[in-house]
């Protein structure tokens, strides 16, 4: 229902807390810029920050490719060609192509890959997308469910648990529901036709821990 969602957007913008919303935006941009410009150092940072040593549980690493974790292509490598343009999104786990380690040791590594028309993406989103393919954490920042719903008419991602709605065309910003922040973004590139990780997640993956 596009009308309702537009209204929602307006009411968010018109919220008396305009300042905090702005600062949220700024911080997201900052993160994004860092992710763009400093992909490599972020990559190291993510390793350094994490005490995780099990490669199956490590968050996606630069150069990882993806295997579909569900659906008709389950177990196959995700390529530009087997991701339908316009959606729906695919669930995938990162795979280290050198060691063939599938990073499915933690559900927090589930990634949503959506193939969208490049023209539909906002500039900052296009900059981290790979030929229209965008990657996001599949874990809802509200209470941690898999964001498995897809609304085809608006091309929105929906979390079935409490209806948080995200726009994958615009850095998966929250357009509805209780999620406190957007889905962490995973920079991508295409290498040998395969969808490949180009940087670390833009933010901590998982539910709010307050």
């Amino acid at each position: 229902m596009p009308r309702a969602e537009n209204q929602l957007e307006e009411s968010t913008n018109a919220h008396p807390c305009a300042e905090c919303c702005t600062s949220r935006l700024v911080s997201r941009r900052t993160v994004l810029k860092s992710a763009l410009g400093l992909g490599v150092s972020l990559h190291f940072a993510s390793i350094a920050e994490s005490a995780e040593t099990d490669p199956k549980k490590l968050r996606p690493q630069i150069g990882d490719i993806f295997l579909f974790s569900a659906g008709a292509h389950q177990g196959q490598v995700v390529t530009l060609n087997n991701l339908p343009e316009g959606g729906p999104p695919a669930f995938a786990y990162p795979l280290d192509p050198k060691t063939q380690t599938l990073r499915d040791g933690s559900r927090l590594n589930r990634v949503l890959l959506v193939h969208l028309a490049q023209a539909a993406l906002t500039d900052p989103t296009r900059a981290v997308a790979a030929e229209g393919v965008v990657g996001y954490s599949a874990i809802c920042p509200h209470t941690g469910c898999d964001v498995s719903g897809w609304q085809a008419d608006t091309q929105h991602l929906i979390c079935p648990c409490h209806t948080s709605t995200f726009d994958p065309k615009d850095r998966a910003r929250v357009v509805g529901g209780p999620a406190p922040r957007s889905l962490p973004l995973l920079p991508l590139q295409i290498a040998d036709g395969k969808v490949t990780v180009a940087g670390a997640f833009s933010a901590r993956v998982g539910a709010e821990q307050k």
Partner: protein
């Protein structure tokens, strides 16, 4: 790793002497152990379990606060929990010590008179946990322990005096979709809990643990396995993912030694993949508290296709009908019918049932057994959309009804004028993933035109006469658990306008209201200390109330803002 913050008396003394006059210096509140006898016959001043008494009435005989003076009820103290989401648990009070829980399995022990914090327990939940129902419905007490069922499917015993973990028992693996939201039920030295996860293809069960040691005593599946009675009501392998969650604390008849539990819907929602009655879904089951054996059951409706979990346990009370007085089980169903059953040692018999909200699925009930027949148009299938009333969340879902022996009325927190629609899809089961046979975008809430005028209701039913006595209507949908008292009062919040209200139990006339921080979805309780009666309730909107609000907003193209964040409110008469 868990965190307990305990405020030692000397810390309090120091704080008090620094900050205020020394006359208010706190002494530690002595703790009175909870015995089996006290659970059977709780003192009027206390509220020792989920509904105060085993019969599930939600009734306290206290009458200092009554119809004549409730207009002067005012906040005595409040306490911020620091947590968002649905605050549904009752303040449990044992001789001056109060326990509340919050989402994320925090337990707070407070001085029930002064509001001073005694200790706080916070569970460090696994980072890969997901919570479909971020809530907790309260603790149980026994001996000097506090029992907590956690959202990562553990059962904990805490030291009531310190909040320290005495034992921690894994009930199931949360990664496969099991979790717990209910307040445990304690009887005969055992702690009984049941599991949730009905949307995730679990196989439900109720399990009892030894209160002292935490050792498992018995475990009874709510979906019978091979060789068990009722197994043939599930085709093929469907029993393995048959759901039938336990969401809410059972009631208990000590004479029969039977614990009565309401059971959830079968999974997946899509009924055509599990043709059959699907026992013991949407039922009341009576379990022997010593062995866990299912001694009797009554299935309210078979092969559910509407997500109508019959989560609430029936209330146990005596009903008088012309020429007959009997021990009843009373249940206001999510399926929109008010069920009156008779309980026996070895069976449950049907007495009558009547719709308390608009219901368009049942075409008739068998007069002998109560088994409903269905309108096939109201059953969705793969690619077949079906609309039905009441909605997915039913005529009444988890918020408990209450019974007042003075009026003889049952008080039902109901929702009217809301319907739903579902469309099915084929789905394969993956452990720990949603398994509903319905795509999220194919779940709809369809308000009837009348819903613009009102949805929420508080209904009073005269069970002896078999008639509704009165109804209070609210514009908002209603998620308010009900408390009723010897003061002739009924207390309930539940609406999205953040009010907590008191009504005359005889007439339904509203006598008092207080606007709170958030929407009140907590179970209200009452207790008395040093001759002063208090009413206590948590205000903290979230979970299903929030979800249905989102659906309604979508249907109506509006955006409703209901602030979140829990606060405990404690009221007393103005001096």
């Amino acid at each position: 790793m868990n965190q307990v913050i305990r405020l030692m008396p000397f810390v309090l003394m120091t704080l008090v002497s620094l900050l205020s006059s020394p006359v208010t210096a706190q002494s530690p509140v002595p703790y009175t152990p909870v015995t089996a006898e006290r659970l059977l016959q709780p003192e009027a001043d206390n509220w020792l379990m989920y509904r105060r008494t085993y019969d599930g009435w939600g009734y306290s005989p206290l009458d200092q606060i009554n119809t004549k003076n409730v207009a002067t009820l005012a906040p005595s103290w409040t306490f911020s929990t620091g947590v968002e989401e649905g605050h549904q648990s009752p303040p449990i009070v044992n001789n001056g010590v109060m326990f509340i829980t919050t989402p994320k399995n925090q337990v707070l022990a407070l001085d029930a008179k002064s509001g001073e914090i005694l200790w706080r327990y916070r569970r460090e939940l696994p980072e890969d946990l997901f919570q479909l129902h971020p809530t907790n419905r309260g603790i149980a007490l026994y001996g000097d322990k506090v029992f907590l069922a956690t959202v990562d499917a553990h059962l904990l015993a805490l030291n009531a005096k310190t909040g320290e973990v005495v034992w921690d028992q894994t009930v199931e693996n949360y990664l496969t979709g099991y979790y717990m939201t209910l307040a445990p039920l304690v009887a005969r030295g055992k702690v009984m809990v049941g599991v949730s996860g009905g949307e995730l293809g679990i196989r439900g069960f109720i399990q009892a643990f030894d209160a002292e040691t935490g050792k498992p005593v018995w475990k009874t599946h709510t979906v019978p396995g091979p060789g068990e009675k009722g197994h043939d009501t599930w085709p093929g392998e469907t029993w393995k993912t048959g759901a039938v969650s336990i969401w809410v604390t059972g009631t208990y008849d000590p004479q029969l030694n039977l614990a009565y539990w309401g059971t959830g819907n079968p999974g997946p929602f899509l009924s055509e993949v599990r043709r059959g009655d699907n026992l013991y879904a949407n039922s009341v089951i009576a379990l022997d508290a010593d062995t866990g054996e299912i001694k009797a059951h009554h299935q309210y409706h078979w092969n559910d296709a509407w997500d109508w979990d019959e989560v609430s346990a029936p209330l146990l009370l005596d009903v008088k009908r012309p020429g007959k007085s009997f021990k009843a089980l009373v249940h206001a169903g999510r399926n929109g019918y008010l069920w009156l059953l008779e309980r026996h040692a070895d069976k449950i018999t049907f007495v009558d049932a009547t719709p308390f909200v608009h219901q368009n699925v049942f075409t008739k009930l068998d007069p002998e057994t109560g088994r409903p027949s269905y309108d096939p148009q109201r059953i969705f299938g793969v690619g077949k959309r079906a609309e039905f009333c009441p909605s997915l969340s039913g005529g009444k879902t988890w918020p408990p009804a209450a019974y007042n022996p003075q009026t003889g009325y049952l008080y039902i927190p109901a929702n009217e004028n809301l319907c739903s629609a579902l469309t099915g899809k084929q789905e394969t089961y993956t452990a720990g993933q949603l398994y509903m046979g319905v795509d999220f975008s194919d779940i709809e809430f369809v308000p009837r035109p009348e819903a613009k005028q009102h949805i929420g209701e508080l209904q009073a039913w005269d069970l002896n006469a078999g008639k509704k006595a009165w109804t209070v209507k609210f514009k908002s949908h209603n998620w308010g658990p009900v408390l009723t008292t010897g003061g002739g009062l009924v207390f309930m919040g539940g609406t999205n306008d953040r009010y907590f209200r008191a009504f005359d139990a005889k007439t339904g006339k509203q006598l008092w209201q207080q606007r709170t921080n958030s929407g009140v979805v907590g179970v209200p309780t009452t207790y008395q200390i040093d001759g002063v009666q208090y009413i206590a309730v948590q205000s903290g909107w979230g979970v299903d109330a929030q979800r249905v609000q989102e659906f309604l907003d979508k249907a109506w193209g509006v955006k409703t803002f209901i602030p979140q964040g829990g606060v405990l409110w404690v009221f007393a008469l103005r001096k």
